[in-house]
Symmetry: C2
Subunit: 156 residues, 2 copies
């Protein structure tokens, strides 16, 4: 997983992903909320990403579509809740192939000494739903996104 | 708590509320998704409720305002996600006094022998956030809503 740390405790309903970025907090916040940049870092590197909606405000929708080499599409969507610039974002997300399985994600950015600690916590309705994401290599996809985001942030 | 059962396990992030209603599942589903009926059962009996939005479809908003005897208002809101009529509803909710504290609720209705088992599971971002709801007598308010809903369902 490289420089990305995960906290996935047995019996809990959440996954916590932590990454330190060498950039100020407001730069990281702007990067993660910029629809133009999403295709450059969101998801594993072998998939293309198309942004269909990204309304970063309470009640705003987002919808991203991953496309694999054969053209097959996998859509993810949700709604933004709290947007506390530049420190916190709360949003829901679901894989549209399993629309009743919604997760609630809280992204918190903490700055210290010029580094920004990005903490993304996803809480799922059940331990089983969380464990299914873990088995589907969700952590690997997350870690790849973080590596790609680190590249995007270089020089910003 | 009367006839309403709660499952609140130490160290977990969720609250599960269970109630059996003497009505078919589609009747219960229609009642809980009818904005006209919300003021008759939603919340503790000593508060009035005004429905400002209730768009029961994926992505639809809801906003209910509780009003106490002195006229003070307490607003709750969120977004509907999956709506699988008549068996499941997934929605978020927040108390607008603490907008960064969002919870994800899944309501599941199971019918058996003419009775409908209503299971509402709310998952919170942390054990602490869940426990704060428990300390604020959230379960008592929930149980009163269920008692009032049982009254509304009588004769339907």
């Amino acid at each position: 997983m490289g420089d990305t740390e995960f906290v996935i405790e047995p019996g809990r309903q959440d996954i916590v992903m932590i990454r330190a970025f060498d950039a100020p907090r407001d730069v990281v916040f702007r990067a993660v909320t910029d629809p133009e940049l999403i295709p450059r870092w969101w998801g594993p590197h072998w998939l293309d990403t198309r942004v269909e909606a990204m309304e970063v405000r309470p009640g705003g929708r987002w919808r991203f579509v991953n496309i694999d080499a054969s053209g097959r599409e996998y859509a993810f969507s949700g709604v933004y809740h709290a947007v506390l610039r530049p420190e916190r974002l709360v949003r829901t997300w679901e894989y549209e192939g399993a629309p009743a399985e919604v997760a609630l994600e809280t992204v918190t950015l903490e700055e210290s000494g010029g580094l920004t600690r990005y903490v993304a916590q996803s809480v799922h309705p059940s331990v089983e739903a969380r464990d299914a994401i873990v088995r589907a290599d969700g952590a690997k996809g997350g870690a790849q996104s973080m590596d790609r985001l680190a590249e995007v942030l270089k020089g910003r």
